[in-house]
Symmetry: none
Subunit: 201 residues, 4 copies
DNA sequence: GATGAATGAGTCTTCATTCAT
DNA sequence: AATGAATGAAGACTCATTCAT
C-alpha cells in the first residue's frame, strides 16, 4: 500500500540504503545524520528508534556490506575451477566497481581511516572483514595449491596475493585508473606460476 | 617565557606542527580548528592570518610531509648500492614507524580517504606524492635494473614493487601487525630475482 | 518468565515503582519517560494507556507517597504516649532515611522545586502534603498540649515544631550530615518544655 | 556606542543576567540554552565562548548571587547593634523577597534539588553558601552572645537560629504565605531570650 | 602581525507524545 | 489492554570562519 519514491518499505532498510550510499561516497564524518534522514525520508527521532547512534548505523551498514561482499566474491569465484581463473575473478570484481561513477575504493578501509582509535568496534569490524577476505583467498581461491607446498609457504602465497589485491585497490582509488589492478593481476599470475613450479621452495 | 622543546618560535610553524600531529593521529574531520590553535598556542584569528582555511593548512602540512618524506626515503636508499638492499631500506623505514605509539598508516592515503571529491586539491597532492614515490622507486631504487629489460617490463616491475609496498602499509595499519610488511618485503625480493633472472621475459 | 522480587504484576504498579525510584533519586526533569518504561519493563505506548502524561505519573507517585508517608508517620507516633517521645519519633523516621544510599531530602519539596508555576497541580499536591503533616503534628503529636494553652499559642507551637522539622530535612540534604536533625530535635524538646512550663505565655 | 535594549554592554553580563532570571524562576532543567541566548541577545556560539557549558553558567550565576547575597545580608545586619534587631533584619530581607512577583524560595536550595549527585560542583557551591550564611549568623548576628555561654551551647544556638531561618524560607515558598517567616522570627526571638537568660544552660 | 569576541549553520542526540495495529 | 513504530520540537554543544581593534 505504501509506495514511496525510495521504494523500500521498511524505514530501517531505507536508512541503511541511504547510509550505504552516503557513507561510501562522502565518508563517515562528512555525512551528517540530517542528510541521512532526509534522503531516507524518516524523521530524526525515527532514526534513533532504529539505530542507537550514528556509529551503530555505520556498523550495521558495514555488516550488511560484509555479508553481500563475501557472498558476491565467493559466488564469482565458485564459477571457475582453475585457480588462475579464480584469481582473475577476484580482480574483475573490482574492474566493475572502478568503472562506476565516483569510485571510492574499499569502503571498509575508508571507514577504518576515519576511526583513529584502533580499539573502536568499527575497526574491529574492518579487521574481521579483511581477515575473512584473506580466508576466502586461502580456502576458496588458492585451495588447490595448498597440498602442493609446505603450510608456511602456502600462507606466504596467500599473504602475497592478498596484499597485492589490497594494494591495487588503494592505488586504483588514488590514481582513479586501471593500471594498479592490471599490474596486481599480472603479478599475481606470475607469483602463482612461480609458486606452482616450485621455484619458491 | 615558555621554552619547552617542542615550542617553535614562529606561529605558522607551531600551527603546522600541531596540525601534523593531530591530522595524522585523529584524521582531518575529527580534528577541529579549536584543538589546533589551542595546542599550537596561537589565537584563532592569528591562525587565519597564516592560513586562509583549514583545508589550506592540511595542504601545507601535506607539502611539508611530502618534502621530508621523500628526503628521508632517498637518503636511506642512497646509503646502499645493491638494489636488494635499497628495497629493504624502503621497508625498514616503515618498520620504525609501525612501532611508534598509535600507528596510523600512510598520512596521505588517510587524508585522501576524507576528501571524497577526486578533483579536490588535497587529492591532487596525494596523487603527486604517490607518483613521486613511484618515481623514487624507479629512479633511485630499481634504476640498476632499468637497462636490463624492456621499458614496459621495467615499468611493470616498478608498479609491482610499489603496489606491494602500498598494500603492506594498508594492511599493517589494518591489522596493527608486522606480517604484511614482512610478507611484502619477501615477495619483493623474489620478484626482483625473477625479473633479474629474466624469467619474466 | 521474569520473576525477580521487585517485579510487580500490574504494569501501572511497575511504572509507579520505577518512577518512585527515579523521580526521587534523579529528579523529575532529569528522568525521561524512556528510562521509566525501560526500568519498569512496559512498552512506551502502554505507559500512555495507564497515565495520560509524565506529569500525571508524577502526581500518582506523589499521592501514593503521601499515603504511605502519613501512614508510616502516624503509626510510629502512635506507638508512644508521651509527647516528647512522639516528637522524637518524627525525627527518628528521618534518621533512618538519611542513612540510605543517596539521601535526597524530601521528595515533595524537591518536586515542588521543579514546578515553578505555583498554580501547578503538582504544587497543590505538595502543599496538601505539607499541610497534612502539619495537621499530624497538631493532632497526633502535640495534641496533649492543646488544652494547656490558648489556641493561637498552640498554633504557634505547632508551626515552630513543624518549621524546625522542615528546616532540618533541608539542611541534612544540603550538608549530607546528621547534625541538622540532632539540632532540630534538641531545639524541639526545649521548645516543648518552655511552652509546657508556661514561659511563653 | 552600543545601546541595546538589555542595557548591559558586555555579553557575558547579559548572559548571566538572563540566566539569573531564568534559572531562578523556571529552574535549571526547564531553562534551555536557547532561551538564555535569545533573552540575552547573543549568538549560541558566543555563549560558548564565554561559558564552557550550561552548568558552568549556573555556577557563575550562583557565585555572583552568593557574593551579592552575603553582601546585602551583612550590610543589613550591620545597621543594627542589638542582637534581636539583627536577627529581625535577617528575616525582613525575606519579607521583601517574598513579596516580589513569582517568589521562588532560595535559589541555592532549588539548584541543589536539580543536581542529584551530591559530588557535583554545583552542590559544593550550595553547601559553601549555606555554610557561609551560618558563619554570618555566628559572627555578625549572634556574636554578642558568644562570650555569654560555653562554645558548644553557642554553636547550638547558631544552628537553631539558622535552621529556623532555612525552614521558614522553604515553607514560605511552599505555602506562598508569610506565616512561616513570622513564626520563625518569633521563635527565634524567644530562643534568643531563653539562651540569654541562661535557661538553657 | 596579532587577537578576543562574535557568529550562523551545523553537529549528534533526546524529549514527551501519538498513531496504527 | 498492549505495543512497535513514528514524530516535531527541542536539547546541549561544536563547526570553520570573520570582524573590529
Amino acid at each position: 500500500m505504501t509506495h514511496n519514491p525510495s521504494s523500500l518499505s521498511r524505514p530501517s532498510e531505507r536508512i541503511i540504503e541511504a547510509a550505504s550510499r552516503l557513507f561510501f561516497r562522502q565518508g563517515y564524518c562528512s555525512t551528517g545524520i540530517n542528510q541521512i534522514i532526509s534522503e531516507s525520508g524518516v524523521a530524526k527521532a525515527s532514526f534513533y528508534t532504529h539505530f542507537p547512534s550514528k556509529e551503530a548505523l555505520a556498523m550495521a551498514w558495514l555488516r550488511q556490506r560484509e555479508e553481500r561482499w563475501i557472498e558476491q566474491l565467493t559466488e564469482r569465484i565458485s564459477q571457475h575451477q582453475l585457480t588462475e581463473k579464480r584469481v582473475s575473478a577476484m580482480y574483475t570484481m573490482w574492474y566493475d566497481q572502478i568503472r562506476e561513477e565516483g569510485y571510492r575504493g574499499c569502503g571498509f578501509i575508508n571507514m577504518a581511516g576515519e576511526f583513529s582509535d584502533e580499539k573502536s568496534p568499527v575497526r574491529a569490524l574492518v579487521r574481521d572483514h579483511k581477515e575473512r577476505v584473506r580466508q576466502v583467498v586461502a580456502n576458496n581461491v588458492l585451495n588447490e595449491y595448498r597440498p602442493m607446498m609446505e603450510p608456511e609457504v602456502f600462507d606466504e602465497l596467500v599473504n602475497t596475493i592478498y596484499s597485492l589485491f589490497d594494494g591495487a585497490i588503494i592505488q586504483a582509488q588514488n590514481f582513479m585508473q586501471d593500471w594498479p589492478i592490471d599490474s596486481a593481476m599480472k603479478t599475481s599470475m606470475k607469483t602463482l606460476s612461480h609458486y606452482r613450479s616450485g621455484a619458491v621452495l
